[in-house]
Amino acid sequence: MVDMTALTALHASSAATARAKSRRRSEVRLKMYSILAIGLAALALVTLLSSVFMKAGGALTEHYVALPVDFASDKVNQDDPSDGNYGGLMKDTLKEAFPYAKGRKIRRQLYGLISSGASFELNDYAVDNPAVIGKTADFTFLLSDDADLYFKGFFGELEERAINGALTITGEVSEVGETVEITSTAEDFAGDLEILKARLLVEAKRVREDAARQENGRAVFAERAAAEADDKTREDMLASSEGYATQRDALIAKANNLELRGARPGGEEALSSETISLFIQANGGWIKATKLSPSKITGEVLVPLTSAEASDSRLLVMPTSEDSRKVTDNQVVWLEKLRNRDAVTSVFNWRFFSSGDSREAELAGVWGAMVGTFWTMIVTFFLAFPIGVMAAIYLEEFAPKNRFTNFVEANINNLAAVPSIVFGLLGLTIFVTGLEMEIWGTAFTIGGFAPRSAPIAGGMVLALMTLPTVIIASRAAIRAVPPSIRDAALGVGASKQQATFHHVLPLAMPGILTGSIIGMAQALGETAPLIMIGMVAFIVDIPQGVTDSASVLPVQIFRWSDFPERAFEAKTALTICVLLGFLLLMNVIAIILRKRFERRW
């Protein structure tokens, strides 16, 4: 027999106190771990959001440049403004603004400053304002994506250097492309020469790494040649090995040269498109340095100077190399001239939210994808919601509890776990292509009614994907309605159907809506199945209905993230923000609906 009185005394023993202490300690530890876990999760979220928001900021504005356009030009039909070569007029305008830009290559750079879409806007402007025809009027042209990025500082900013000595410019300064010399009484250019030399050393290091790779190639082929039995193959391999050795030697020689140049004090160094760019701005003109020594610059005239007078000149350095940025030195100079003229304006990027997709980054917008998303979600909702709710009602209220309903239930749960791309494959085969079958010699096609890339196809696929979520959420909501309500309804002589639709369903509605909207939010972010059914295509037009070709926001993000243009980086981030906004909106709607329909019982 256990002596319970003796056991009671144990509650006051020191062992019990120690146990209590250790229990409290472990509780504190658990609390710390939980806080740590939440903190990590919050940190991850903040990092994600801030990186997206910071990148997206770049796409919120766009730059325009105002230039005088000669609408009296013969490029425009003076009687009918809609008839005209506005692309040509745009080029004429640029040529007029920069008359010294000559030569095909330079001209092409010049035309690259302005978006190709600007000519259509110019056309529209002329049609809308016929009063300008025959006159010269200012028009604000949309800048190209690269020019826009330059003003946003993506390619580095020009840095101005202090000039201590007196500068003298010698040479033909009024002609573009002429070589001129600029000398300083002080060693004004020594600092940039050092930067240049540091660059040479960095470059030398890179060349050496390249040489090491060539050596690696040589060694591999030499080894294989030694092990090769066949004479012919061995000779080929030895030849390859020789080739690598030659390249290696050339690279090593280049690296040696670079290191020598980088290490020696003073002297004259050539600037190239791989190093920094250095400009002298004086008397309305620009000179680009080609050679640099501590007190002398040899340069090329990019913009003619009105005189060789060197007072008032500025020394400007672009720290990024011409090769590493998408705007050439010429374009930098032109853009700076436009900026100095106050012709450049930055405005909020409404275009992004009101236009469809485009290959030109500066013209591309998300409106098409937003409308596509809207149509797709409409189809998804009107399929998944009624079917899902009806299925849930049947399973909860009417279905007999037998093996078959158990089987159906298990499979609904399994369906929720099926990867979305599988649904995409199903949608492609059944809805879009149609499944061709032959039974007893009769060939027929199942499905194949939905047009490719259309919201109707995408919506159906997403509805299939959302159905299990809707059914599971609806069943849980219906089950949560107290049985006393069903009893009450049946007790006054309501049929089962009346009890369900008059009493159970309204009470379950908040839960059903919340579950459905969460399912829809999931579908909203889905990319893979839509790619399968072809919604990844490049679609410029805004879809007008569920059968038009369309894209959706997540697919738009996926496509843009793959584009090489730098400008699409910010656009991708901003599209992500739009998608997040949509998700937030849907969750807010879910909360409002829940609050609205919520009733106590």
Partner: protein, 260 residues
Amino acid sequence: MKDLDAIPGDTKITARNVDVYYGNNHAIKDVTVDIGDKAVTAFIGPSGCGKSTFLRCINRMNDTIDICKITGEIKVEGSDIYDPDVDPVQLRARVGMVFQKPNPFPKSIYDNIAYGPRIHGLASTKAELDEIVEYALSRAALWDEVKDRLTAPGTGLSGGQQQRLCIARAIATAPEVLLMDEPCSALDPIATAKVEELIDELRENYAIVIVTHSMQQAARISQRTAFFHLGNLVEQGKTDDVFMSPQDERTQNYITGRIG
């Protein structure tokens, strides 16, 4: 309150050899009972004795339970309610039910009462419906308390008021029989007293069957009493007879508090 001279009038419900099975569990064993019109019949007995199960057989509420199987014969007004031609929904309009826990719909007081008449087409105009609602609430002695706030939610009333609302809701479908499954078990003594008074008043129009755990309550309000024990109907008769001179030893033990 109890009318000693009240003799059960005509027989309203007759049950013959009723057996109920929940799967393998034999819940009601060969019960035969008569329930009189315009009288209160009390079913008493210890927990799990089958009195509620039997009550729910009378308006076929057990139909909603898949594994429940019923044999025997129950007649209301002489017609078999388990006849395949009988629609349980119509039956439940004639045999109203009040549950153990007050369960008003999460709607307004008015809609709680009006729901039954609406689905059964008892009122063709709004005025008629209003009249029914007023009648039902008055019969349930609730009209004076709620007439100024008919649009307020039924769930906002106190427990006793909610139960009277449920009684009014049952009355509103114009039933012949009222089944009450421990209607006062969730109520305080004051609310219980009110509901008991109400049941006594309602007796003149309806056949009332009440399941109760309180023997005092059965003695106070019923004219006839049936004692159930382990699925058997042990004894039935006039309430006075059952309580004063029980024939069966089990009844004797139960009413004196020796089993229960």
